[in-house]
């Protein structure tokens, strides 16, 4: 079993783990923005950069993203060195220039001593930091790939295909849930949900009429797992009532 040293602490780890996995397990603070446990690590936000060296290669050191770097026995990691802090401060400074109104970024940047951005702020911009979590969750986890990115470089943006309401979207709102800066707008009423400029009817409980998911998500789940058409007909509250009914009968025996 490999052992690595993080900030002077000798820590046991498993083969195939990343440096961030070990940090998380040992409650070593490493900031992240584009990382999510359920989604494959991406290494885009560059906030989790750490400094590494190895006794086997004296004099060698490098800066890597903890979320992707696989552990190897003897690795020495610094999560809070001066250079790492400077890098994070620059990244946050750049993000603050991109999204000057995002409270999440403001707070993180302040932690690294950046109160106001040193660069040219984007005044008309939204709070999207292009971490790509929404696109990746839709593609990798949900599996519908309803949204993507458009353009590249400085003009890159998260976008629906052809900037029209996405036809493949099932309205599950997982993208909005994982968004670290809460950019994705969801309008939720008992009857419908609006996301990505598309309106989805909610699938209502046949007994009480409250709803959890959209009709599209219901159809998609049923088709995916080959379930009976009425599988999702009841809400959690009504299902509970039915369960209680059964338990009552059981205890009346």
């Amino acid at each position: 079993m490999p052992e690595i040293i993080i900030d002077g602490r000798r820590l046991k780890c498993e083969e195939g783990e990343t440096v961030l996995d070990v940090c998380k397990r040992n409650r070593i603070e490493v900031p992240t923005l584009c990382y999510h446990e359920a989604i494959e690590s991406w290494g885009g936000c560059r906030l989790c950069m750490v400094e590494i060296s190895h006794p086997k290669w004296p004099g060698w050191s490098n800066w890597v993203t903890a979320c992707l770097y696989p552990v190897q026995d003897g690795l020495v990691v610094g999560t809070n060195t001066t250079r790492v802090r400077r890098l994070r401060a620059t990244v946050l400074d750049l993000l603050l220039a991109r999204c000057p109104n995002s409270s999440v970024i403001q707070k993180l940047a302040a932690e690294y001593g950046v109160e106001d951005t040193n660069y040219e702020p984007r005044l008309d911009g939204d709070n999207c930091i292009l971490c790509g979590l929404c696109v990746r969750v839709c593609d990798e986890v949900i599996g519908v790939t309803a949204i993507g990115t458009a353009n590249r470089g400085a003009s890159k943006e998260i976008s629906e295909p052809l900037k029209e309401p996405p036809v493949d979207c099932i309205g599950c709102a997982a993208c909005a849930y994982v968004c670290p800066t809460d950019v994705i707008q969801v309008i939720q009423t008992p009857d419908y949900r609006v996301i990505w400029d598309r309106t989805f009817d909610m699938y209502k409980c046949v007994e009480c009429g409250i709803s959890h998911i959209t009709v599209e998500q219901k159809d998609w789940l049923i088709a995916k797992d080959n379930l009976p058409a009425d599988y999702y007909d009841l809400c959690d509250i009504c299902k509970r009532k039915h369960t209680a009914e059964k338990q009552k009968e059981l205890s009346m025996l």
Binding site: C45, R46, W63, T90, L94, Y119, S155
Partner: protein, 626 residues
């Protein structure tokens, strides 16, 4: 026709050689992009037309071939002759009649079409004697310009597939050892030892392996790979087949940019021919090797030249790089072990196998063996495609092969390694061109772009130009590259517009360093090279821009004030060229320039015979409208 074994291939080669010997004269018309643009196709048509009219047989005794790029693009269209070795430059259709009459029929030379050395003023008629070619060592480019790229017979006559034949008699491990012995390093820019890459792929576990040829040459001004793919496609394919045999793979891809249509056409033709004769497909030459190659066309994104982005693109996904803490030799295309080499690397393989690794080590330096092709462009006299042994100095490359700076101006800097290379100043001109020495000076050899700049180039503007290019070409995945380059460009825009401060300069340096170590892929990591190297070597120019509001090269329009001095001979030439009629004047009076109308385009400076129009600082930022 299908070669089922090596013997049949060799028999065919003999036959092709015999046919070749019958040909008394071959006319090679350069079909490189440069020559095509200057009308090579018209020359070819005219040649064929007139030869046909005169009833000259163009099948057996005389052949007209349109070839790949000769490299001497400055002098195109180029027409050369085999076996006489004569080279004509700047040939126009009107010259065809004379060429046929004198050179083809009577073995005489058309004097006005041969190259004149500007230094010695001597006329040079032989291809090999022209200084541009004389100092070159052509290995990767050995066939280009010498054969019809779509003819298998031409390739076989020039020893084609000898490397493959020899390789098939070796064990895969022996091939890798031979490459190892040669010291070949990747020509795409990274300079990773090819043999080590192959070995690591062979070691990696996976149900399948892939081999990919990187033909996504995106550096502005570079066209080495393009010329090879257009002018010698069989060589690339042979290198890939040998590679496939060595690492044990059955499927290969060539990733070619959308912008290289001729490369795609020629490669496709070559692949079709090889499939037909059984050099691609199942059981190649009876050796049991099954291998086929597909062409994947890129959409023209610069970042797709990066290995992991390229593999994503081949797989049909968005071309975004990934962190390569696990190498693509282990987890590459479709997460399977993949070897990715550059076009130029692959064309070196067949000849190394044919002649042996030791033969290759005679070229180049201890750590950088062999030769390297460069696209020599910019303010140099002989622009074009050159191949030189590594270890040659920049001075030799620019002044001997390149023939020095245009119009006798002063050399200022050379930018090596494409947009993310650094600028090397005059005092470092004796640096050796190889993988390591340039890197030490904050530049890199890269894939081989070489842009020469003279005194009329503004170094601040150069850095800004490349930043702007990379800002647009960044994939936008990681923050330092996407946001950092945007902010760097914004800071440069301030300086160029005359609003920069010395604080901005510090900010640029600080941010550039962070972009360098913070970015995800090589694009971002090397993007600050032009910034940091120009600041290192040309800091005074930056300070001039900031403090004195002066761009000495007269490139940054907002910082350029053109003034006509008293030496003016009142020739009126500047009045003629001025696009905004800003200059007025009569005979025998010093001309007057109206600053209000002047857009500082520099046309007058260019044309003035006595250099009396000078670039002077503006007094206040914004004084000259940009």
């Amino acid at each position: 026709m299908r070669f089922n074994n090596i013997k049949q291939l060799e028999e065919h080669r003999e036959q092709a050689l015999k046919n070749q010997q019958k040909v008394k004269n071959t006319i090679l018309v350069c079909g490189g992009t440069g020559c095509l643009a200057s009308g090579a196709r018209d020359v070819e048509d005219e040649l064929r037309k007139q030869l046909a009219e005169q009833g000259i047989d163009m099948e057996v005794e005389l052949q007209v071939k349109i070839t790949g790029c000769h490299g001497f693009c400055e002098r195109g269209p180029i027409v050369s002759f085999i076996p006489s070795g004569i080279l004509y430059e700047k040939v126009k259709p009107k010259h065809v009649e004379e060429i046929i009459e004198k050179t083809i029929k009577n073995d005489k030379i058309v004097t006005k079409l041969i190259y004149k050395d500007p230094a010695t003023k001597k006329k040079v008629q032989q291809y090999e004697e022209i200084p541009f070619y004389k100092h070159q060592t052509r290995i990767a480019l050995r066939n280009i310009g010498q054969l019809d790229p779509t003819s298998l017979d031409d390739y076989l006559v020039r020893d084609g597939f000898k490397g493959l034949v020899k390789a098939l008699g070796m064990k895969p491990g022996e091939i890798v050892d031979e490459i190892d012995k040669s010291g070949l390093r990747g020509r795409g820019g990274g300079g990773f030892p090819t043999a080590r890459k192959w070995k690591s792929c062979i070691k990696a576990e996976g149900e399948k392996r892939y081999i990919i040829c990187n033909g996504d040459e995106g550096d502005p001004g570079a066209f080495m790979d393009r010329s090879i793919m257009e002018g010698d496609p069989f060589d690339v394919l042979e290198g890939m087949i040998i590679g496939a045999y060595a690492i044990g793979c059955e499927e290969g891809f060539i990733y070619v940019r959308q912008e290289y249509p001729l490369a795609v056409v020629n490669l496709r033709k070559a692949i079709d021919i090889l499939r037909e004769v059984g050099l691609l497909g199942e059981n190649i030459l009876g050796s049991g090797l099954n291998f086929d190659i597909k062409i994947a066309r890129g959409g023209g994104a610069f970042v797709c030249g990066e290995s992991s982005a390229l593999m994503k693109s081949v797989a049909g996904k968005i071309g975004e790089p990934r962190a390569k803490y696990i190498h693509s030799t282990e987890k590459g295309l479709y997460d399977l072990p993949t070897v990715l080499n550059n076009v130029e690397t692959f064309v070196n393989i067949p000849i190394i196998i044919e002649k042996g690794g030791d033969w290759f080590t005679q070229f180049g330096t201890e750590k950088s063996r062999g030769t390297k092709a460069f696209a020599l462009v910019g303010r140099v006299n002989n622009t074009g495609l050159v191949e030189v042994p590594m270890g040659i100095t920049l001075r030799e490359l620019i002044f001997e092969i390149g023939g020095g700076i245009q119009k006798g101006r002063e050399f200022k800097a050379v930018q090596t390694g494409g947009p993310s290379g650094g600028c090397i100043p005059n005092e470092l001109l004796d640096l050796k061109v190889d993988f390591d020495e340039l890197t030490e000076q904050g530049s890199m050899m890269g894939s081989g772009g070489m842009i020469v700049m003279d005194e009329r180039t503004c170094m601040v503007d150069v850095a800004r130009y490349f930043l702007d290019f990379l800002k647009e070409e960044s994939c936008g995945k990681c923050v330092p590259c996407r946001e950092g380059l945007r902010q760097l460009t914004a800071l440069y825009d301030r300086i160029v517009a005359g609003y920069g401060t010395l604080e901005d300069l510090d900010k640029i340096e600080w941010l550039a360093q962070d972009v360098m170590i913070g970015s995800l892929c090589a694009l971002g990591k090397s993007a600050p090279n032009p910034v940091l190297s120009t600041i290192q070597f040309f800091r005074d120019e930056y300070e001039e821009h900031i403090r004195d509001k002066h761009c000495r090269a007269g490139v940054c329009k907002a910082l350029t004030r053109l003034v006509i001095h008293d030496e003016c001979i009142a020739c009126g030439k500047c009045i003629e060229v001025c696009p905004t009629d800003a200059i007025t004047g009569a005979k025998k009076t010093v001309h007057v320039l109206d600053q209000e109308k002047c857009i500082a385009c520099g046309s007058c400076v260019e044309i003035c015979p006595v250099d009396c129009i000078k670039v002077e600082p503006v007094k206040v930022a914004g004084e000259v409208a940009s």
